[in-house]
């Protein structure tokens, strides 16, 4: 009961007939359907299903009916009220869904706005390139060997078949520690790691040695006194120059694409004999630029080949210096400059960019060269 029934009208008992109930329902359904938002629906609910709604009033009249008519009228009114209630619920669901959709729409943003970021930094491309090259060898079963940058002169020179007064010592301009006779140098090459590997490891040996090396060059576009090399060494029974060539070809293919091979040219290194320079087939023009002035290649200077590194069969004297039987075992070794590789692989034109630490340089590479 919501209040005194002041508007009670006995005539309305007539409303309990079927026709009257139907018209009440029709009116209610139309009114509910018209409700276009939840507020209107709330009003419609009061009007058609509230305490004073026609159907509620009709319900109240049932008690006044003769017993025979009570059941019939009760059923009729009950069905009508259920129908209206259902309509209200359905309509409410629709309107709630509409309202929710509107709220979400209103909350839309411009997702293209530049958002506040904590951008990732970068790893130096020399680091990641060295890792990538080393990983090619890891997949072939090699281990990564390491050694100190301030190194015993014996390991950097003597054991590598560069005797004290050999002109090869002046091929590489060496930083000496403390005094030129201290016995300690900044390693001029990663090759002393070979010596350490052969002294410390069991045969056969398959290692790759990336690292930082030093020579007294002035910094310019193509030289830096502090640079990086990756060195490979295999010592096993029956190794051949063909094995060396195949290993270099495999590296070339992994780094530069299917079909890219290397070329060996005779050269001299004290620690290898025979020795060779390693050229890489140009992975950009694949030699097509040679003799074709209309299609010059910047990567190889239209030579078709790019100077990449040095290699050779480990000089048996080096094996002797570390106590390996050079009648039974042979070795091959090779080395490349990482800076140089980065220059032609990634199109770096000035080596100074790699050493100055300008954030724009490293950032451009992200976390992989």
């Amino acid at each position: 009961m919501s209040g005194p029934n002041t508007e009670f009208d006995p005539k309305q008992v007539a409303a309990l007939d079927a026709q009257a109930i139907e018209s009440m329902v029709a009116e209610a359904l139309a009114g509910i359907a018209e409700a276009s938002n939840l507020d209107e629906l709330k009003a419609a609910k009061t009007a058609y299903a509230g305490d004073r709604s026609p159907l509620a009033l009709a319900n109240r009249e049932i008690g006044a009916l003769p017993p025979a008519a009570k059941a019939d009228a009760g059923k009729r009114v009950g069905q009508a009220r259920a129908q209206v209630k259902k309509a209200l619920e359905d309509r409410e669901q629709i309107l709630i869904a509409e309202r929710d959709a509107q709220v979400l729409q209103a909350e839309a943003v411009d997702v293209t706005l530049p958002v506040q970021r904590n951008p990732i930094g970068g790893r130096h491309p020399l680091t990641t390139l060295m890792e990538r090259m080393a990983d090619v060898f890891i997949s072939m079963g090699y281990d990564i060997a390491e050694g100190p940058e301030a190194e015993a002169e014996w390991a950097n020179f003597d054991a590598l078949n560069v005797p004290p007064d050999h002109p090869a010592r002046t091929m590489q301009d060496t930083f000496y520690v403390e005094s030129p006779d201290s016995g300690v140098v900044l390693r001029t090459q990663t090759s002393p790691i070979q010596i350490r590997a052969m002294l410390e490891r069991e045969l056969p040996i398959y290692v790759v040695a990336p690292g930082r090396v030093y020579r007294t060059d002035e910094l310019d576009a193509t030289h830096t006194p502090v640079f990086h090399q990756i060195e490979g060494l295999a010592v096993d029974e029956g190794l051949t120059m063909a094995d060396l060539k195949g290993t270099l070809d495999h590296l070339a293919t992994q780094m530069f694409g299917e079909g890219i091979v290397t070329r060996l040219r005779p050269s001299y290194f004290p620690f290898t004999e025979p020795s060779a320079e390693v050229d890489l087939e140009c992975f950009v023009c694949r030699g097509a630029s040679v003799g074709d002035p209309n299609n010059p290649c910047r990567t190889c200077g239209s030579e078709g080949w790019i100077e990449w590194g040095g290699c050779g069969m480990v000089n048996p004297r080096v094996l002797t210096a570390v106590g390996i039987d050079n009648q039974k075992y042979r070795g091959f070794a090779f080395g490349m400059g990482i800076e140089r590789t980065l220059m032609f692989r990634n199109g770096v034109t000035d080596m100074r960019d790699m050493v100055e630490g300008d954030i724009r340089f490293t950032r451009a590479f992200g976390v992989d060269a």
Binding site: T247, Y268, T320
Partner: protein, 824 residues
Amino acid sequence: MRISTSWIRDLVAVPEDQTGRDIAERLIDAGLEVETVELVGAGLDGPIVVGKVLQIEELTEFKKPIRWCQVDIGGTEPSGIICGARNFAEGDLVVVAPPGTTLPGDFTITARETYGHISNGMICSERELGLGEDHAGIIVLAPETAEPGADASKVLGAGDEVLDIAITPDRGYALSARGIAREVAIAYGLDYHDPVENPETLPGPADERAPAHCASDDLEACPLFTLRTITGIDPSIPTPQWIVNRLRDSGMRSVSLAVDITNYVMLELGQPLHAFDLDSLQGTVRAGRAQPGEKLETIDHVERELSTDDLTIRDDRGPIGLAGTMGGADTEIGDETTNIALEAAYFAPDVVARMGRRHKLTSEASRRFERGIDRTLAPIASARASELLVELAGGTYQGMTAVEAPMDERAIEIPTDLPAQVAGMDIAAATTVAKLTAVGCTVEQSDDRLSVTPPTWRPDLTDPADLVEEVVRLVGYESLPSTLPTAPAGHGLTHAQRLRRRVGTVLAARGLIEVLTYPFTSEADANALRWNDDDPRRISPRLANPLSDEQPLLRAAILPTLLTAAQRNVGRGFDDLALFELGSVFLGAAGSKAPPRPGVTQRPSDADWQALEGLLPDQPMHVAAVWTGDRTAKNWQGSGEPATWADAIATAQDIADALGVDLTVEQGADPAFHPGRCAQLMIDNAIIGHAGELHPSVIEAWGLPARACAMELDLDVLMQRAPLVHPAPDFSSHPVAKEDIALVVAENVTAAQLEQVIREGAGELLEDVTLFDVYTGDQVPEGHKSLAFALRFRAPDRTLAAEEIAAARQGAIAAAEGLGARLR
């Protein structure tokens, strides 16, 4: 070694159609690195002619003296030519570029008015013609070199090509026309006639003057010493143009006929020669070690203090030359010299090399001796030079004295198939023999072995491997197959290698950018970092020959070189930086006054190897980072967030987390850092690094933005603690109980100290504790602060009862009270 193709062609009949480039490619395939092929007179277009200077009128009214010359260039009338050079006289033969000729640099000669005359051409220098570098004056040809009007380009060798070959230390024989021509002959499969094999006969000695006498006091260092005497040369005779051209193309300047002849023969045969002024010598000329305290002024007019290890050439008065390196000034031949003692000798490579290093002196001669010359060549080369002195300089040959130790020839024994075995391809025995014979070896074959005696000019061929290289390079490296050896199963990356990569990735993911700086630093850097006098980082290895005297030390910390990289970026307009570096540092002294020098004929003993290792400084791997300016950039969502001391500490903690190591942070006191904002990073009670805000004076020293922050730690120590296996966690699914406590403590109590006692006091039920508020102000007493912690409790096996939680909370509070805390 620079050599013209015409010189090569004098010695070997290279087919006419082969250009310098063609020859170069053949040589490259054989292992001689031809760096450039240059055209003599490149850029010269049009005739150049020989002119005879008939008359010179000196024009003095201009700023510089100018000559107005009448030059006979073969026409009916002489040509009038203006010339600014002064190194010629009337009657001299010069080279004239007439109007219409284009000189290198695209400079076309025209008849034009200059200095008040119409100049009909140009009198040229070497450099103006693109022939060489000499521009000290114009070219003056020897009298009767050619008639006026003759084609001067022919006279000067223009159009010839010059190969510039980088000779590796093993191929000393290729520092001569003789050696290069041999390689060309082998490369083309042509016959080669060694110019040394048929020495011409010397004129018989005259008796007017006894030959100068020679001796060797050290037959190890100087096993062959010869001295020939030539008298009566005419010092006024100029060098014939063909010798001038050859010297010029090989990069040497014409000096005087006698000197030019010694240089010419050296370039031709590879034997350095030295001409003494005979009249300046006293007594026997001998090779011998310097005496203590001796000095020598060499011909470059440097007075050199000699070591008793120096091998000198000496006469009765003392040293007169550094053997095989440079002669002395007192006995040098000059403009008046008519009598010559010509030295030709063999000096041991290591002796010359050591002397060159000691005196920082190299010469054309020492480059050859260092690499090892032909042990038999000295008397042959000096005969050749003597003949030229007789023939061209008008001298009279007087004879030779010589001293020579016996020479040992050693055959190298190899299996015939060794080259094939090493190469990994088929090489027929006959091919092996043929290639070895071609380079000059004597080969004896028996069964499946070869006995190979290398030629005297190949001292580099000492081992079987050397012979293998000769065979394989001449067969051609391009024939090598490509095969892959099977390595045994590998181990993958080591633990440390994996961890280093991980640290790099974590730092990059944190927004830091990796740089790789040169590890060179200085005492000034150590001072700028405010390191104490007894800071162990002040002791790091010093370079004997640093790139810059201002940075002679190897770094004992990454920080100084990293700060310099930051400074450079700031200088380029980037104030917001986060840089890191992973790299070695160098701690402690290195080297020794008498370092061990194990031999190389066997594996070093363990003791020797340990002694070598003992020479080295400690070289731990460090990681360092530096921040300046904002960590996040200002944008429409708000202002930028400055990077602070907290970022530095957090980064160190992230590294430790990534490695699975517990890192403890304590209030620290590294002098490079802000005294109140420095954390020391601890593992097992040992300091492994610092993080925080840099000291203002450090920031100022490197010119960085205010409040720059940094971190550096010893990564090796961290990595040693990193677990190989991370055990799985064991965690409870029972409900959590959360309790917050706010504690008021004195300012000097650190958060870490408080947290530590809370953990201890709360007991085993404590799952986690988080500091969530720090307050100082009116609500707490002066000199105090309030720290609020969120505590999480959980039991492994049950839901906690209220009394248990209360007890644990009370335990934490009670423990904190031990630090003077009271509950707020």
